[in-house]
């Protein structure tokens, strides 16, 4: 039983008239409450896979099964309803929100769209979500641009868990945060995974972060899977040239830590 099963996924773009595959015949599965990391240099197709899995763009070939249903043939209201179970957290928490929005509106949207709580009950739900991600409930009335980057990313996580998803795609979700905040956000993600049994597709170029949170890792190179396996094992003994290059790019202190 897997939450997400991707098989033979391919996405081609045209660059200078020539077709080139941004994602080339990629297959993987994610189980319940599992964290699968996608690593690779920039341009290796990590973010394209994230957007394909979320149906923000359409693949040229392949199959995506989400919660044992064919996700690619869904459309209209059925697709929108199913999106409640498959959420995303973006890299830049400022760009991820409507610049005019308040925290309350950002968290109200998923509750409203999916009819999760009656209107009168929503302020209480919003306060509970904020507390769940370690924020003060009084933050609800603040504008998005008034709060700090770390707080914003917590709000993004609160929005993602509002609809009780089984899978969250984290596209470089901690890369834009400074180191101390990054640790707190990673703790929060691990805690949520334990409590709510959420699976993560964790996209990052930072192997140090991946080793701290991921169970398995897939290393991508030019749209193809270069190697895969247990996250700690692959990072300790990379086999592919891309894997070796990524490990070599890690700070030495981090690399030598057990």
């Amino acid at each position: 039983m897997s939450v997400l099963a991707v098989s033979n996924l391919t996405k081609r773009y045209h660059r200078g008239g020539k077709p080139f595959a941004a994602v080339d015949d990629v297959s993987f599965e994610i189980g319940p409450a599992e964290t699968l990391a996608l690593a690779g240099p920039s341009g290796s197709g990590k973010s394209t896979i994230a957007r394909l899995v979320l149906r923000l763009i359409e693949p040229d070939a392949g199959r995506i099964d989400f919660e044992d249903a064919d996700f690619l043939t869904m459309s209209g209201a059925a697709l929108r309803a199913r999106r409640a179970r498959l959420q995303m957290v973006f890299q830049d928490p400022l760009a991820a929100f409507n610049p005019r929005a308040t925290v309350a509106r950002v968290l109200n949207d998923p509750l409203r769209v999916h009819g999760i709580a009656p209107r009168a009950d929503r302020p209480r739900r919003i306060a509970a979500l904020l507390e769940r991600v370690g924020l003060d409930a009084g933050l609800a009335q603040r504008a998005i641009h008034e709060i700090s980057g770390g707080q914003r990313q917590r709000v993004a996580i609160a929005r993602a868990i509002a609809t009780r998803p089984s899978l969250i795609v984290l596209d470089e979700a901690v890369s834009a945060l400074d180191v101390s905040v990054r640790g707190q956000i990673l703790e929060l993600l691990l805690d949520l995974q334990r409590q709510e049994r959420i699976a993560y597709l964790f996209i990052s170029h930072d192997l140090g972060v991946i080793r701290a949170v991921a169970h398995r890792i897939f290393i991508l190179d030019a749209g193809r899977i270069a190697e895969s396996g247990d996250a700690r094992a692959v990072i300790a003994y990379p086999q592919s040239s891309v894997g070796k290059a990524l490990v070599a790019a890690m700070p030495k202190l981090v690399r030598d830590r057990p």
């Binding site: 957007r51 979320l54 923000l56 929108r80 309803a81 999106r83 409640a84 498959l86 959420q87 995303m88 973006f90 830049d92 760009a95 991820a96 929100f97 409507n98 610049p99 005019r100 949207d109 998923p110 769209v113 999916h114 641009h145 929005r159 609809t163």
Partner: protein
């Protein structure tokens, strides 16, 4: 208060705001200052200005009080100008947002329609519309709006094209929001500032178009308008030029005031945008 002070940071903006404030006060106070029908006969015909202080701007060919007509005319000019501009901006913003956000065939169809409207000279379009439907205030507003919505539509579409690629639009899709909800709740409000920047130009053009239509006798016949006053004065232009000059100057000042105030608004929002 702070916003108002920023708005009034240039002498041009202050002048524009003053002219507009005066006009709006004049339009609002018209029934108080000159109760009754402004088209009623008030004295001897063709009385020149500044002779009789009960009729300070004189009388026209039929002995009507020019100042009363002028003040009541301000109501029509401003009402038509603002209503037509509001309608044009609304139609333009909705069409532009749908075209930009939907893309593909819908975009093609809507933008070719915009092209079609834009290739017909806008004044001729308004003229044709009024002559077919018949002159009344609502028809004049509609006629001006259908000839002015294309500019806002193009600007809105261009802005939407850049906004729809932003992460927060993808975020709204991930949440499962309906595409129309995304277009009108998330995208449109953020695409509005450059569209609203057009409003001063459109209000000014609408006031001029209304005056031109009235001048040609296609305004609402039951209302005094500056255009119809100029047309009335034209027949006695040699003997009583003030009958055309007075409403003409009012028209020039109004358009100037709208322009200057509009520029002030655009500049103050531009400062705010570059600061954020």
């Amino acid at each position: 208060m702070k916003r108002l002070r920023r708005l009034l940071h240039t002498p041009e903006a202050i002048a524009g705001a003053l002219i507009l404030a005066l006009l709006i006060a004049m339009a609002l106070a018209a029934p108080l200052l000159f109760p009754g029908d402004p088209q009623a006969i008030a004295g001897p015909a063709l009385l020149p200005p500044f002779r009789d202080w009960s009729l300070p701007l004189g009388t026209d060919r039929l002995g009507r009080d020019v100042l009363a007509e002028l003040v009541h005319g301000a109501r029509t000019s401003l009402a038509v100008g603002l209503a037509a501009a509001a309608a044009a901006l609304l139609i333009g913003a909705v069409v532009g947002t749908l075209a930009g956000f939907a893309g593909g065939l819908i975009d093609e169809v809507l933008m070719r329609m915009t092209d079609a409207f834009q290739t017909v000279p806008s004044f001729l379009l308004a003229l044709a519309f009024v002559s077919i439907v018949g002159p009344s205030l609502g028809v004049v507003v509609a006629a001006i709006a259908i000839s002015a919505w294309t500019g806002p539509a193009r600007v809105a579409r261009a802005e939407v094209l850049s906004i729809r690629e932003r992460d927060y639009v993808a975020g709204a899709r991930v949440i499962g929001m309906h595409p129309l909800g995304i277009a009108f709740r998330e995208v449109l409000p953020n695409a509005l500032p450059p569209v609203l920047a057009l409003s001063s130009v459109i209000v000014a053009a609408a006031i001029l178009t209304e005056a031109a239509l009235s001048f040609l006798g296609l305004g609402d016949p039951n209302r005094v308008t500056w255009g119809s006053m100029i047309a009335e004065g034209r027949t006695v232009l040699r003997t009583a030029p003030f009958l055309s000059i007075v409403p003409g100057v009012a028209l020039v000042l109004t358009v100037l005031g709208v322009y200057l105030a509009g520029e002030g608004v655009v500049e103050s929002t531009a400062v705010r945008r570059s600061l954020s």
